[in-house]
């Protein structure tokens, strides 16, 4: 038995007196069983949404982005709003898998796999918007620097939009590698339990021939740790760079130095809300209550109330600076276009305030943090609020700036703009349903690793051991402390 001491006050991360074999059984069962009716219904709806999105994008590509209601000053509307929203959602996955790994937060093991999958699918959805916003999408490769025959002609390395190309593509690649390298051992587990030839073959290919050799594990641990160390500044840089798209401009409402931390906090906020929504569904549908415990839900709600409050402070700081700078354009944007309820877009600002700042305060109460219905409801509210935030930032800043003569008409989206957004929901959930069916949704090997220190039965055993005199614990050397006979006399 490990003698790493875990406080008895901490609740177990894995309930139900599990053995290693049971952990495998519990997590692999949904992959091996036939999907439920609910799965088929959900998958069908997701594919329908995706098809609607494909048709909307088809119209956009065929007829041009005149299919959208973008106008003279509002060159970015729902498309970039949705882009920033999806990228933000992706951030929670990396935060859970990388930053919490570096901070040694044991509870991340229950949720990291699904959260990382969410990151990858969210970034895939996000990428669609800038790509199709280009209009002539078959020229999308023009945004990569490559030697070409048009004379010396390169992309502009001083432009935040190009930084974004690098940031998003790096983020996607690194997240995918991190996720897949963690999946290798779990695919091997599924492969070695396969009961049909096809399963054995496919999971055999997916597992890359993983054996579980000690040397491989040693390298795997080193790889995970360094990838976590790389992903941590990466995830902060990605949303910082997304915020540079706005902050480096001279548009009132965008030109603020507070944007990077404010965007990162907002991203983590919305991402955790999305993880909550998905986790609550997964634990219910697959019966994973022993692994995704109330402790997990509560920990994530604490992150939500923290980041929501950071975002709230950022909103107030902006309002303060709108007055304190005594810049009439800034003052107009913040105090009239946004904060004045009866201005054309005032409703979106107050919607954002209600969803992001006021309602998450409910999580100061422990009872609320541990209430599934409240948590699920709040997770949806927070994501609506964060969508409003991006909409407020983009549209209210663009529709009225310096010259009243160039103020634009009221912008509202067309069916095809909404269809594109719905389509990314379809893409996201289609991927997520397939992931939930064919991939281990919880990191099996990592759960087994924490089982002996934080599993329920081991916690109880440890509780009895607290009354055993210290001399019983013999040090066996090699950096590993063991008690033979389990310490029982």
């Amino acid at each position: 038995m490990h003698l790493k001491y875990e406080s008895q006050l901490r609740e177990p991360l894995v309930y139900g007196h599990k053995t290693f074999a049971q952990v495998t059984e519990d997590i692999v069962r949904p992959i091996e069983a036939k999907p439920s009716k609910l799965w088929y219904v959900g998958f069908y709806i997701a594919v329908c949404l995706l098809m609607f999105g494909v048709y909307s994008v088809y119209r956009d590509v065929t007829y041009g982005i005149g299919q959208w209601n973008l106008n003279k000053t509002i060159g970015w509307g729902w498309d970039i709003t949705n882009f920033v929203w999806w990228v933000g959602i992706g951030h929670a996955g990396t935060l859970i898998s990388a930053i919490l790994l570096l901070f040694r937060q044991g509870w991340r093991t229950g949720v990291n796999r699904a959260a990382e999958a969410m990151t990858i699918f969210a970034v895939m959805c996000a990428g669609q918007f800038p790509i199709f916003h280009m209009g002539r999408v078959w020229m999308a490769f023009f945004c990569l620097p490559y030697p070409n025959s048009r004379g010396p002609l390169w992309v502009n390395f001083n432009s935040p939009l190009l930084w974004d190309v690098f940031a998003i593509s790096t983020y996607f690649t690194v997240s995918l590698l991190f996720w897949y390298s963690g999946l290798l051992p779990d695919f091997a587990t599924v492969r070695d339990r396969a009961f049909t030839k096809l399963r054995k073959r496919l999971y055999g290919i997916a597992s890359f021939g993983w054996t579980g050799s000690t040397k491989h594990w040693q390298r795997h641990e080193s790889l995970s740790l360094v990838l976590a160390g790389l992903s941590t500044p990466l995830v902060l840089s990605v949303h910082t760079i997304v915020s540079f798209d706005f902050a480096t401009s001279v548009v009132p409402g965008w030109h603020t130095t507070i944007f990077p931390p404010y965007f990162v906090a907002g991203a983590v906020f919305s991402g955790f809300a999305m993880v909550q929504s998905l986790m609550i569904i997964i634990r219910k549908v697959f019966g994973m209550e022993d692994y995704i415990t109330m402790g997990h839900i509560e920990a994530m709600n604490k992150v939500i109330v923290l980041t929501g409050s950071i975002v709230g402070i950022a909103y107030l700081t902006e309002l303060f600076m709108g007055w304190y700078s005594q810049n009439k354009y800034e003052g107009y944007t913040f105090w009239y276009s946004r904060a004045y309820l009866f201005s054309p877009y005032g409703w979106s600002y107050w919607g954002m305030m209600a969803c992001n700042v006021i309602s998450p305060q409910i999580f100061w109460f422990k009872k609320m943090r541990r209430n599934l219905v409240v948590t699920f409801f709040m997770s949806v509210i927070v994501n609506i609020g964060m969508w409003f935030e991006r909409f407020v930032i983009i549209v209210t800043s663009l529709y009225r700036d310096y010259l009243p003569s160039s103020w634009s008409v009221y912008y509202s989206p067309t069916t095809w703009e909404i269809g594109f957004y719905m389509g990314t929901f379809g893409l996201f959930f289609t991927c997520f349903f397939l992931f939930a069916k064919y991939f281990p949704v919880i990191a099996i090997a990592e759960i087994k690793y924490v089982l002996k220190t934080t599993g329920e039965s081991y916690k109880e055993k440890m509780h009895h051991l607290e009354h055993v005199p210290a001399e019983v614990f013999a040090h066996s050397g090699h950096g590993h402390t063991t008690v033979e006979n389990g310490g029982h006399n």
Binding site: F20, F157, F166, D192, L223, S237, G479, H480
Partner: protein, 195 residues
């Protein structure tokens, strides 16, 4: 690759495994490998393995990314395509930091994962010999290589004495080859686990 004889001892608890590893090494047996369902910390030291240098490789890849980004952008913006943007300097380092950073991370991550796969010889369609199908489930499988001088019966008895739950002798080819897992493996039979 030539076939060799191995004694395969399976343990169901890593706390029995550690003393067994120690005893086997003290007795002078050559442990080919220990296959575990998860990363057992300290087992690499117990087996006398040296630390991996994968992180050093990652550092080198990262530096390569930094240099690549910096040198390429510098050449493009000062030599090949010097744009006059409001009279600002062509060598605009602060504006390049984001891309330099991203490429550092990208090179380090991709390089490390490829190196990891190369060192461990992991790739799609690669097939390896698995000594025990439950090594990825709940057993810790210690594999001891036999040579001409090894008394196999003694070794089997020795391993049973260390607390192994299963000991058997296998003749196998180590290493890897291109192949499919469904060709010759015995399929898994569902066992029910008491809840």
């Amino acid at each position: 690759m030539a076939k060799k004889k191995f004694v395969v001892a399976s343990f169901d608890d890593e706390d029995v495994l550690f003393p067994a590893v120690k005893k086997a090494r003290t007795a002078g047996y050559k442990i080919q490998d220990v296959y575990t369902p998860f990363a057992v910390h300290g087992l690499d030291h117990a087996l006398g393995m040296r630390e991996t240098s994968l992180h050093t490789a990652g550092f080198i890849y990262g530096i390569t990314g930094t240099t690549t980004a910096l040198s390429c952008i510098t050449w493009i913006f000062t030599k090949d395509w010097p744009l006059d943007i409001g009279g600002k300097p062509h060598f605009a380092l602060p504006a390049w930091i984001p891309i330099i950073f991203e490429l550092t991370v990208l090179f380090a991550a991709v390089g490390m994962v490829l190196t990891f796969c190369y060192l461990c010889q992991l790739a799609p369609f690669v097939k390896k010999h698995h000594f025990h199908p439950r090594a990825t489930d709940d057993l810790f499988v210690m594999v001891i290589e036999c040579n001409d001088k090894t008394n196999v019966d003694d070794l089997v008895g020795f391993m049973k004495g260390t607390g192994a739950v299963e000991v058997d002798v296998q003749v196998a080819e180590e290493g890897w080859w291109l192949g499919r897992y469904d060709k010759d493996e015995v399929l898994f039979e569902h066992k029910t686990v008491a809840a």
